[in-house]
């Protein structure tokens, strides 16, 4: 079910991004086109991650939080850059940059690095690849090689 929903989300994301590019050919399309791209990008990034996370028919478990965080950071970061007022001389700075640029650079660019790799490592054994999983794959590899050797012995390609 999760995988099916995720594929649906990836298709919606692709359509949003296609619409965003279509907006460039429409007079006055720049504003809604940018929003389409923001929503499409956030959805595509998170849905592709979710596709990789989901195993068999299970859900995303504890990874729901970092995945939701990523979606919110991308939409909120780029959204803030679209809606907040344009800065001029004397603008307030955040960590050495004007507010909107700081939100994009530090928020979208750096915040996920503090969360996603840690979440990946913390759940790796239970949700990505356990010793048992690897042993079963290696057993499949052995069986595959045996089938290949048998086929070669029979003179098949």
């Amino acid at each position: 079910m999760t995988r099916r929903l995720t594929i649906g989300a990836t298709i919606v994301a692709t359509c949003c991004i296609a619409l965003a590019y279509a907006s460039a050919f429409v007079p006055g399309g720049a504003r809604w086109g940018a929003w389409c791209m923001v929503v499409g990008l956030a959805t595509m990034v998170v849905s592709l991650m979710t596709l990789g996370v989901v195993r068999r028919d299970r859900g995303v478990g504890r990874l729901a939080w970092p995945l939701a965080f990523t979606f919110v950071v991308i939409v909120a970061g780029f959204g803030a850059a679209l809606v907040l007022p344009v800065e001029g001389p004397g603008a307030r700075l955040l960590l050495g940059l004007p507010l909107r640029a700081a939100i994009v650079l530090y928020g979208v660019g750096l915040l996920p690095i503090l969360v996603l790799p840690i979440a990946y490592a913390a759940t790796f054994d239970s949700m990505t690849l356990s010793e048992d999983d690897l042993a079963r794959v290696r057993a499949l590899g052995v069986a595959h090689r045996e089938r290949q050797d048998a086929a070669r012995a029979r003179g098949e390609s």
């Binding site: 940018a34 989901v54 001389p89 690849l129």
Partner: protein
């Protein structure tokens, strides 16, 4: 990213002369280390498996740093700061996806690719597509698309390498081009991908170290008393807008093409096969992401510092944006550090060329024959011959026409992204994807990229701001992948072998 950088480098057509004894000595030492790695790797390379996937025996740090170096290449040092000087902070959108791409690639591709290597003994990216979709046609199309893209990509890089060697040694462009290709070819033919990954490790470590040092110099001299923002904002506020001087759609399009498109870069994906112990992937995203962030400090620091120095009148406006890094290094950092960075640029380009040689040789020697139902007898020997052939073709193309080569480089990036992302990133994670969907999406990516890039190159039309042929090709191939898979959904289960299904579900 690499193409954007080398393309930017090619726009200038040359670099400022760097022929100084310190720079020449460091460059010679650099090439000597690369040559030593090549000799060592040649002694370790005894089979096609060694030649193409380093015997599946490299460690996590080596793989992660090599993937980082192959991802960034010379772009981090030359093209990126120049682009930022031109368009402001919007240039950062090319590298902004690094916040997510390390983990995105690990979840969607790294485990699946590495486990397919374990279960099936696979060694190439088209191998994975063929195993997933049980299709020789999908393998062949992917190999053809990769070969076309690789020649373009390599030609662009070889020309950039020629420019750097000419600037350091004063050889002239044509000689620099053949010298650079000759050195790279020598260690690639003998040491294969093993030479490539350890050269990547060496140059990646140098890139990271040099990047930190140069960044500290940008903070020291770049901003002045008011800091970067305090200096630039009163004079050129759009430079520090989140989109820089680009439209929001154009900047966001960078995020799409370089973020999602990164999942289809074969020289990076290919490295997942090489990891000795699959469970070491646990720390791959963290190491990869941090290494890239460190290496990009130079990109952002120099881009901001040079703009700030120009605004303050400490530097005259640059004639060519790509002079940003050479100008800053030569005027504001110790000569030894400049020398390391310049040599690092040459080494970075060489290691990228080596990665493409290996991936291209595998496509030519391994994938295309299998697509036609045949196998090459001695893959190691023919892999070496293919490496020479691809390199000669790419160098000849590089020497033929500068602007055509730049076009081919852009074309190459687009081809990788649009032909490989759907079948790899989605196909390896969704059992509903079908063989027909994969073949149609690869063909669409190939066709749309070829037609739109050629029409744009010939100036038959120009796209509105923010729209590129690469982006259109990627979106089109994704849509075609979904639509065709839906219409042929009844065939999905039949083309999926049990062991591959297990790898996709584990």
């Amino acid at each position: 990213m690499n193409v954007a950088g080398t393309f930017a480098l090619l726009q200038g057509g040359t670099l400022p002369p760097l022929t100084q004894p310190t720079i020449i000595v460091v460059a010679v030492l650099y090439f000597a280390v690369v040559a030593a790695i090549g000799v060592w790797a040649a002694r370790q390379t005894r089979s096609a498996r060694d030649f193409f996937v380093a015997g599946k025996g490299i460690g996590l740090w080596t793989m992660a740093i090599a993937a980082m170096a192959a991802t960034l290449s010379g772009f981090a040092f030359i093209g990126g700061p120049g682009l930022m000087y031109s368009v402001g902070l919007g240039a950062v959108f090319i590298v902004l996806p690094i916040g997510v791409t390390g983990t995105l690639g690990a979840w969607t591709l790294a485990k699946r690719i590495r486990l397919l290597g374990e279960a099936r003994g696979l060694i190439t990216v088209p191998d994975a597509i063929a195993a997933r979709f049980n299709s020789r046609l999908a393998r062949g199309l992917a190999a053809v698309a990769m070969l076309v893209a690789i020649v373009g990509y390599m030609a662009t890089n070889i020309l950039a390498l020629g420019l750097v060697i000419d600037a350091i040694f004063g050889t002239g462009l044509t000689a620099g081009l053949w010298i650079g290709m000759g050195i790279t070819l020598a260690y690639s033919v003998s040491g294969g991908i093993l030479a490539g990954v350890y050269t990547d490790l060496f140059q990646g470590a140098v890139m990271a170290g040099a990047s930190i040092l140069v960044f500290l110099f940008t903070l020291k001299v770049g901003g002045g008393d008011a800091g970067f923002a305090g200096t630039i904002l009163p004079v050129d506020a759009p430079f520090l807008a989140p989109w820089g001087k680009m439209t929001p759609l154009a900047a966001l399009s960078f995020f799409f093409v370089f973020g999602i498109g990164s999942l289809g870069q074969p020289h990076v994906v290919h490295k997942f096969y090489m990891l000795r112990e699959p469970r070491k992937l646990k720390w791959y995203p963290l190491i990869m992401s941090l290494a890239i962030v460190i290496s990009l400090l130079l990109f952002i620091g120099v881009g901001l510092a040079v703009k700030s120095l120009v605004v303050r009148g400490a530097l005259p406006p640059l004639v060519r944006p790509d002079d940003a890094t050479p100008t800053f290094l030569l005027r504001f950092t110790p000569l030894l550090l400049s020398a390391v960075v310049f040599s690092g640029v040459a080494a970075a380009i060489m290691s990228t060329v080596n990665s493409f040689m290996s991936v291209g040789a595998a496509a030519l020697t391994h994938d295309l024959p299998i697509a036609f139902g045949r196998r090459v007898g001695n893959e190691l020997f023919w892999g070496r011959m293919s490496t020479v052939l691809i390199s000669l073709v790419a160098t000849a193309v590089a020497g033929a026409s500068g602007t055509l080569v730049a076009f081919l480089g852009i074309f190459g990036w687009g081809l990788f992204a649009s032909t490989l992302v759907p079948s790899l990133a989605i196909g390896l994670n969704w059992s509903g994807a079908t063989r027909a969907g994969s073949i149609a999406s690869i063909a669409t990516g190939l066709g749309v990229t070829l037609v739109f890039e050629t029409l744009a190159y010939l100036k038959v039309f120009t796209f509105p701001a923010g729209v590129t042929a690469t982006a259109l090709a990627l979106v089109s191939s994704l849509l075609v992948f979904f639509v065709v898979s839906w219409f042929t959904r009844g065939t999905a289960a039949a083309t999926l072998d049990a062991d591959v299904r297990f790898v996709m579900e584990v």
